[in-house]
Assembly symmetry: none
Homo-oligomer: 403 residues x 2
Amino acid sequence: MDFEGIEKLVEPADTKMVLLVMDGLGGLPAGPRNLTELEAAHTPNLDALAASGICGLHEPVGPGITPGSGPAHLGVFGYDPVKYQVGRGVLAALGVDYPLTERDVAARGNFCTIDDSGLVTDRRAGRISTETNEEMCELLRRIEVPGVEINLQPVKEHRFLIVLSGDGLSGALADTDPQDVGHAPLKARALADSPEAKKTVDIVQQFQDQAKEVLADQHPANMVLLRGFAQFPKWPQFPQCFGVKAAAIASYPMYRGVAKLIGMEALEAGMKISDEVDVLRQRWNDYDFFYVHVKKIDSAGEDGDYDRKIEVIEETDRIIPDILALKPDVIVVTGDHSTPSVMAAHSWHPVPVLLAGNNCRPDEVTTFGERACLRGALGPRMPAADLMPLALAHAGRLEKFGA
Amino acid sequence: MDFEGIEKLVEPADTKMVLLVMDGLGGLPAGPRNLTELEAAHTPNLDALAASGICGLHEPVGPGITPGSGPAHLGVFGYDPVKYQVGRGVLAALGVDYPLTERDVAARGNFCTIDDSGLVTDRRAGRISTETNEEMCELLRRIEVPGVEINLQPVKEHRFLIVLSGDGLSGALADTDPQDVGHAPLKARALADSPEAKKTVDIVQQFQDQAKEVLADQHPANMVLLRGFAQFPKWPQFPQCFGVKAAAIASYPMYRGVAKLIGMEALEAGMKISDEVDVLRQRWNDYDFFYVHVKKIDSAGEDGDYDRKIEVIEETDRIIPDILALKPDVIVVTGDHSTPSVMAAHSWHPVPVLLAGNNCRPDEVTTFGERACLRGALGPRMPAADLMPLALAHAGRLEKFGA
């Protein structure tokens, strides 16, 4: 059922839901007992929740697809990540906590080096320091183009964020990055035949021309390359579609950002898991849906650190009683994707998921782990987007369809 | 594969299929042994069928969606209930066995009370008796509107059915029920910009104006409110799509009605399950697909009566040998939706399903129950619409796709 269908069925209820996303939760067997990180971890609280609720494994995007963090989260939030694609410029803005709005077009920028004839000799300007990047951005801030506000923000090394803010802009622009040395930066070019795209092309070209002048005496960062133009997307909004007042509790800006794209309110928290639970406790009466994000499981997986991934999973398990003490009507615990430490990368493997709450029909899963979840009521390859309707149903928030 | 795709593959065969729908079959654990109604029931015949066939659980509409009886049945019959939505007026007509045709637009009517200034003071006219309703309908039958035949049928208390019969009508009309007291009945209003909708608006307004005159001296039922206008739908027909001569055996008119919407022939039966099996036996040579409906499992669930639900399940189990004595090539036993007695309502929980017949590849399920079916070959969350193609395949009625 699509968003519109669900929106017609949502009904108000005095129930609270928690979606705990353990980033990169899924794993692969390793270690002395040949268990996955989750199987090896001592997780008595998650096991008890699994025993009381229903379990399974979900696929965030589709079979065999390894998702990035944005699509993986959108899947778990009930959005088809193939239909709702976040542009790279927008993701870059979210990653630095830029307060993007619907009037904005964002792109990733690189400082680069060009030679006297204007050809790129180094696409990353020798990976200048972030400090130099700051100085170059300050120079670029002198650029003025009528009808638009241009915001620049250094990211790291040679990378910066550019945001154009104004009316009637479009993200349908090709990259100006030629992707190889020996070419001049490409002219701005529209990917759609619309007045908005034409207007934005004109602005970007003016920016690029002025940037060449402003940076002419600098070295090695004497030019810019832009890519991943994207406009703040106008998507169905999570609170309206699912009939909940929703908050995102995440230490990292990128995850608050994805949540903001779909209309959740973003609450900052300190870097420890317990900091996030503190925010959950403080704001418990203000919302009825809470997305809580635990990042460091994924970080350990990405680092290929099997033992540390186990430790962070166990640390997360220890905060479960604090969450349950708030008496949520429904709690969903899952990951956005798998990050097996033996692969040291995101992967396509289905992600363990448990849902506990009122009126769960029990299955035979009594521990929370990849192999145990295969026997669960949610099935071994559930589309991630099925999660939200199921959570709403268990929270008594969906009325009957048809008579 | 859509209906057209399946229709291209169906081939004639001298095989017979029975679809036994145990209404509201799925449940939740309760009782002294914490078992679902189906798990607690003594069902040796269903268990033997489960052991010989393939099992699983199906979702009639989608994850988390609690279906009404109409959509739930359509799902089991192979129709996507989100795509094929039955209007409420049509359902009302089916519920009283009205012989609806493609020329008809049906709506639900309420007798209501209006005051001297024409404002509604009671939307249900004090819930007049069904006898008074009959008298009021008799008065309304005096109304004549050129170009259309108007049929009225009392339902219960203040509720009646109105069916407009004629050429070029449309169901795309808004309710005239203002949904609250203190307002006048709403003017008839089109929901589509079509000549058919305009014509029907005109007819309904004339009916409503005349009803006000005809009922002027009555009290408390001195006006009517209409809602749920719907036209007999033109849907793909079950017998053509699936290449079977199909009969519906159901004691209750509503279920015969849904079956008639998709082109099954409806056979009446007495109120006992054995009455339905008698009809099945009598008409065995006349059809090759039989939908048999057992209502009272759902009724017990709706009443919150765990023990009675178990009893009706056991009663159904006892007629299984009579059905098998007819030697169907394929028998499917399932529910249209779950009705856990602990919830005393329809629910979203997946519904146990078994399919037995020729060439079943056995799974490890040996009892028919919610938890047992989780391990079945059909999976824990099968879309209901997958059932019909699987049943046809096991009945040797689908040829090879492609070379």
